[in-house]
Symmetry: C2
Subunit: 409 residues, 2 copies
């Protein structure tokens, strides 16, 4: 008998029928003799519909009020799921983020969890109750409702698992696990039975989409055992744990990709120590997430800096740079949209030199021009034009033998 935290995302709870299905999965776990805490997201397209209403009222709605609005989505799901469990004969109780003691920093739209006051949940579990918690949401010390940002329900689940000392955190989703690459684009994509936290972190950050990177980081820091699995099919998923046995030849474990990327270049910056921190702290203050950063021309007294952002952040990025032109002291700004990022990820790279070189060779053989490069110990990211993204992924998937070697027995 253990304690399991289960998380079901928006597509898994997208209708009353699907909520009844989720109640069935929760019931199975409970009947196996486990204590269960369930974290759920808003139903299907609910969040999008709420955002649309807000946009009809204001082009830049108050972030506090957006949090107030969006948190209703999960509140609907928790109540319906608790009803379904009660209907099945279980003692179930639902809690919003604030009722579950999910304390966050005082930031709207993208708050981090500071602490979880677990007294209520622990008391309920001791009484044999199934506890259903609204994902994605929290509360500040001043009783302001906050949200954790998109994908925040994963973070809620992992944070609860850590705070409660759960034996396992199962992330139920609409795919059966983590794949070598996105099977919607690449036929040969295969499910991985295991990845390490670091690999998953790179895959999550790089847009694999099944698991929020902040949740993976939380799991790594607190040693929470994760499994990504299907809410519909009863098959084993992908286990994410500290050390994953290395398959023969599986230097690269997965290929992640993401479109809608824009490169922004700041031209003619003063080549001083202060230039870089000033630019990126200015962007950070304005909540613009910068991904890859490349600096050229350090030998002269003027430097050029390029970085990649989501294309949806371009307008705000340009506005922030323009507004701070005097402070930043640059000559001009260039930007290039219509780009994608393709990355290879694998812990095996550390001990296998030449992986990056092989990647560039494969891309060159496909006549794909690499616009930006960024590397870490376990990944190599390249930025290239949107139209060649799938071609690049397919070629790399073949070249690194991912179609063959994916299944760990």
């Amino acid at each position: 008998m253990g304690l399991i935290v289960q998380k079901f995302g928006g597509t898994s709870v997208g209708s009353v029928e699907k909520i009844l299905n989720v109640a069935g999965r929760v019931a199975e776990e409970k009947q196996n003799g486990n204590d269960v805490v369930v974290v759920v997201s808003a139903m299907g397209k609910t969040t999008d519909k709420l955002v649309e209403m807000a946009r009809d009222i204001s082009s830049s709605p108050s972030k506090r009020e957006m949090d107030m609005l969006l948190t209703t989505g999960e509140q609907v799901t928790i109540s319906l799921l608790a009803m379904a469990l009660i209907e099945k004969g279980f003692d179930a109780v639902s809690y919003t983020g604030w009722q579950a003691g999910m304390m966050t920093e005082p930031v709207h739209g993208n708050a981090r969890i500071l602490d979880i006051k677990t007294d209520t949940i622990k008391r309920d579990l001791a009484e044999g109750k199934v506890v259903v918690v609204a994902g994605f949401q929290g509360i500040t010390e001043e009783s302001q409702i906050t949200t954790l940002g998109r994908g925040g329900s994963d973070t809620t689940a992992v944070a609860l698992a850590a705070a409660l000392g759960a034996d396992k955190c199962d992330i139920y989703t609409d795919v059966t696990g983590v794949f070598t690459t996105d099977p919607r684009y690449v036929k040969g994509a295969r499910k991985l039975l295991g990845v390490s936290y670091d690999e998953m972190l790179e895959l999550a950050n790089l847009g694999a989409g099944v698991l929020h990177p902040r949740a993976v980081e939380f799991a790594k820091n607190y040693g929470v055992a994760l499994e990504v699995r299907s809410s519909m099919e009863r098959v084993s998923g992908t286990v994410i744990e500290e050390e994953v046995e290395m398959e023969q030849n599986l230097v690269v474990r997965g290929i992640a990709f993401e479109d809608q990327i824009t490169r922004v270049s700041v031209i003619g910056l003063d080549n001083t120590l202060k230039s870089l921190p000033t630019i990126f702290s200015t962007l950070a203050e304005n909540h613009i997430n910068v991904d890859i950063i490349v600096q050229n021309g350090t030998g002269t007294d003027k430097a050029n800096i390029s970085f990649s952002i989501k294309s949806s952040d371009l307008a705000e990025t340009l506005e922030v740079l323009e507004r701070n032109k005097d402070l930043l002291n640059y000559q001009s700004i260039e930007s290039e949209t219509g780009l994608s990022k393709v990355s290879i990820v694998g812990s095996g790279m550390v001990s296998n030199p030449g992986v990056a070189a092989k990647m560039f060779e494969v891309l060159a053989s496909q006549e794909i021009q690499v616009k930006m490069v960024s590397t870490s110990e376990i990944k190599v990211s390249t930025v290239l034009v949107d139209k060649q993204m799938v071609q690049a992924v397919e070629a790399l998937h073949d070249a690194f033998d991912l179609s063959e070697a994916a299944v760990r027995s």
Copy 2:
């Protein structure tokens, strides 16, 4: 400069466009130099849609979880209205019931307000903010979310007006005021410029629908000046205050009516002192609202008791009576559905004998059989068959000269 509490019901906030209209009405009041607290209901049919989802999951969903579910409705409206006000350049802030300090008794579905912790709202008003509060909802001392029952947003508004010492509480709705009877049924219905709390209480209790009876009672007890007015048309509404000047001949001020009434008769009860309290406390414990009560046959050792309920409560009423048959010690139960209640209301009745007699004469002349009667100092209620309801209302509206005498100059 004063403090105004404005309340807008579901139809007044039924779409983004209507919310923008409401923001306009709030802005006008604020620009008149007043402090404004706005109470809103869920948008249009939101509550009905949520109830439908719950019913798809359970025929008798958990009341706690229903409160969790339904309170999302007003939370959506408060955030959208606050956004609209901020977009218009006002400093606005929205609060859920629990954030607004709306403390209730620990009852789900129909809780009464115990106290309002107004510190936060008072601080915001002092800072010049428009405060938007979710109607209908509250919180228990144990942080459980509760609701005040249907129409509870009126109560929220009046209770806030009382707690804040507001100068006025304006109830905005989709009609222009309180009418002598429902203008959808009776052509000659005219708007009243003023009614007393007691008259309004009878009219509200009897189904006039524009204002929740509990809200009127609250307003009477705390001397809150109310006005029922239109959210769309800029015309004066109906003022509800302690003493209303009596118009010549206006003995009856309004005619209320309500269909979907069922009479239940408990036959062959022991004619002891305990019978009556036992029956009605049993029904009350099961949250069945009994309206008119009539007792027959007190001369013998067996008594028959009849009472009226909403037809929707019939199944549960019969189940409660059946379950408690041994305790209540009766012989049989009879029920008659398809009934309506028609009532005449007016403070003038107190000093005008023969009003009830005139009512019965009018009904008899229309060949309408009266099934049950109940009277108070300012109203006479009759129960009759559904099919004759409108005919009865029209005849009484004419007979008591309401089409002529309604307008107070």
